[in-house]
């Protein structure tokens, strides 16, 4: 510990690390995972798909193969569960650390900011997969055992939408300390209230893109009209890449003494 400092040889020898190169750092991801499930946010994440599945079971018990199945999966699943899971997972992994300043321990390391963002996003993606996409698949199968396309379509659409939401909320987390409220206002008011009223907003609504992707796979009665699947996929990809890059760019300029 008290070795003199001019031993550059030892310094270089110390450099071979675990996962400092490359885009994903396992330690950052592990920390994010602990952060999410070591605290009570984890409970919320379990609650959401449980409600979805309970509802699916209830409907299935009451009715046989109703046409309402896609509606439920859409209204509760795509519109509510997917964005909320993405919000809770992403803010749990990123926003709370930025809020109380403990992110400085991650930043004061020779890690590229892109690596940090991507590693954390991977945890959030995993949560979306486990707590939104898979439950959607299961709910779809419960409701329409004979029509697996339904479940698969919603799962894929939900996954695409969830990933997009994660990157958007990650960017919001880096921008402001009130990322949760901002994300909620976006989802509920911009996409929910206004999107229902004004047509133009639909082109900028993540839920619509994921619904378009779902339509393409389920080939059932369309959930959304006038939106080509190519546009939806392209928009999704653009937002995912763009928001990730923007978040890491903004993180490079993070200053921890600047209080709001």
């Amino acid at each position: 510990m008290t070795a003199p400092v001019n031993a550059d040889v030892t310094r270089a020898a110390r450099r071979t690390g675990t996962g400092t190169g490359g885009l994903v750092n396992t330690t950052v991801a592990w920390l994010g995972l602990r952060s999410l499930f070591g605290r009570r946010r984890g409970i919320l994440l379990f609650a959401l798909p449980l409600v979805l599945l309970a509802l699916a079971v209830l409907v299935r018990v009451l009715i046989e193969g109703s046409a309402a199945a896609p509606d439920i999966l859409y209204q509760l699943g795509l519109v509510v569960v997917v964005p909320l899971v993405a919000l809770i997972a992403t803010t749990g992994v990123l926003s709370s650390e930025i809020d109380d300043g403990s992110v400085v321990y991650l930043l004061a390391k020779p890690l590229s900011r892109l690596t940090i963002v991507i590693s954390k996003l991977l945890v959030a993606f995993g949560c979306v997969l486990v707590f939104a996409a898979v439950p959607l698949l299961v709910a779809g199968l419960i409701l329409r055992w004979d029509l697996p396309r339904l479940g698969i379509g919603f799962a894929v659409g939900g996954l695409a939408g969830g990933l997009t939401y994660c990157t958007l909320f990650a960017f919001a987390s880096v921008l402001t300390r009130h990322a949760v409220v901002v994300g909620l206002v976006y989802v509920l008011i911009w996409e929910g209230l206004l999107g229902g009223l004004l047509d133009g907003i639909r082109w900028l609504s993540v839920t619509w893109w994921s619904a378009a992707i779902t339509d393409e796979i389920t080939e059932g009665p369309p959930l959304v009209e006038k939106m080509g699947v190519t546009y939806a996929i392209a928009a999704t990809v653009v937002v995912i890449i763009g928001a990730t890059w923007l978040a890491s760019h903004k993180l490079r300029g993070y200053s921890y003494t600047a209080d709001e």
């Binding site: 609650a47 409907v59 009451l62 309402a68 509510v80 919000l87 749990g92």
Partner: protein, 301 residues
């Protein structure tokens, strides 16, 4: 050269400036009142930084705007369109704008309640002539009044507009008062739940998310179940489902008590209405008791 034997200056202090306060000390009531007033103002961002005014004021504007538009249409084109009543009945308006109300509650309840717990400033409050239970109830009251104001403001706009448009005042007043009672119930339910959630999870971001999850998911699930149940000719199920979301609960009560226009396809009738009333009472009482119990667990430092 200066004289070597200069006398040292002497002096005495007459007044350092510290004065103990010897005036009137107001009692707990005044403390509680000022806490209530401050809490209420903080819910709308008054008395805080400019940034914190943005969200509540935007939400207030968002919930008032449709009411203003409806009133304008009513006043200007009421006769031309042959309107004999409000375009959107009082009881339906709240249901339509519930998202705005939910976001307001989710954003402001943690700011009011979680912050003091998380940063331990609650000890400053409790070190005053203020009992623990008084603090809790006053905070809850501030939140309740704030939500009530938010919900009632557009109803008031509709009422005044209705009077201006020469709608029969007796009928309008009855409908309006009924809606106000509904607004009070809704405010009590929402603030009780939100306060309880905020007090249990002390991290603000988590509290916001939890409140929204509870409010939005419950409503969506209930709406879905009611839709299907009505379609499948199962009115009892549809009615009972309405118990599980504050919005449908209040709407059901309004229909049962005041014969208001229903917003859900399954409003309670007869004995189910009693169940609704009981549920509302139980939920409100349970939240208050839960809150008081939670604060009893707070350690001093």
């Amino acid at each position: 050269m200066s004289s070597p034997s200069e006398t040292r200056p002497t002096g005495t202090i007459h007044d350092i400036g510290y004065r103990p306060y010897e005036g009137v000390r107001l009692g707990e009531g005044a403390v509680a009142w000022s806490l209530f007033r401050t809490g209420l103002r903080h819910c709308f961002g008054l008395g805080r930084s400019g940034r914190s005014k943005v969200l509540p004021m935007t939400l207030l504007g968002a919930i008032l705007l449709p009411a203003v538009i409806l009133v304008a249409v009513l006043v200007q084109a009421g006769e031309a369109l042959g309107l004999t009543g409000q375009l959107v009945p009082y009881s339906r308006y709240t249901m339509i704008t519930q998202v705005v109300i939910s976001v307001f509650v989710a954003a402001q309840a943690p700011a009011l309640i979680s912050r003091d717990l998380r940063f331990r400033t609650i000890t400053l409050y409790l070190a005053r002539p203020l009992r623990r239970s008084t603090y809790v109830l006053v905070r809850l009251a501030s939140l309740l009044v704030a939500v009530f104001a938010l919900v009632t403001a557009p109803l008031l706009v509709l009422y005044v507009g209705g009077l201006l448009a020469d709608l029969p005042p007796g009928r309008e007043t009855k409908l309006f008062l009924g809606a106000v009672v509904g607004a009070l119930l809704l405010a009590a339910l929402l603030s009780g739940l939100a306060a309880l959630i905020s007090a249990v999870t002390t991290r603000r971001g988590l509290a916001v998310a939890a409140i929204i999850v509870v409010l939005v998911v419950s409503f969506t699930a209930v709406a879905a179940v009611q839709g299907i149940a009505t379609e499948q000719e199962m009115p009892r199920l549809a009615q009972v489902a309405g118990l599980f979301s504050p919005y449908t609960l209040v709407d059901g009560l309004q229909v049962w008590l005041f014969d208001a226009v229903a917003s859900t396809p399954a409003a309670p009738t007869g004995r189910t209405g009693v169940l609704f009333a009981l549920t509302a009472l139980v939920v409100i009482t349970a939240s208050i008791i839960g809150l008081l119990a939670r604060y009893r667990r707070t350690t001093a430092l």
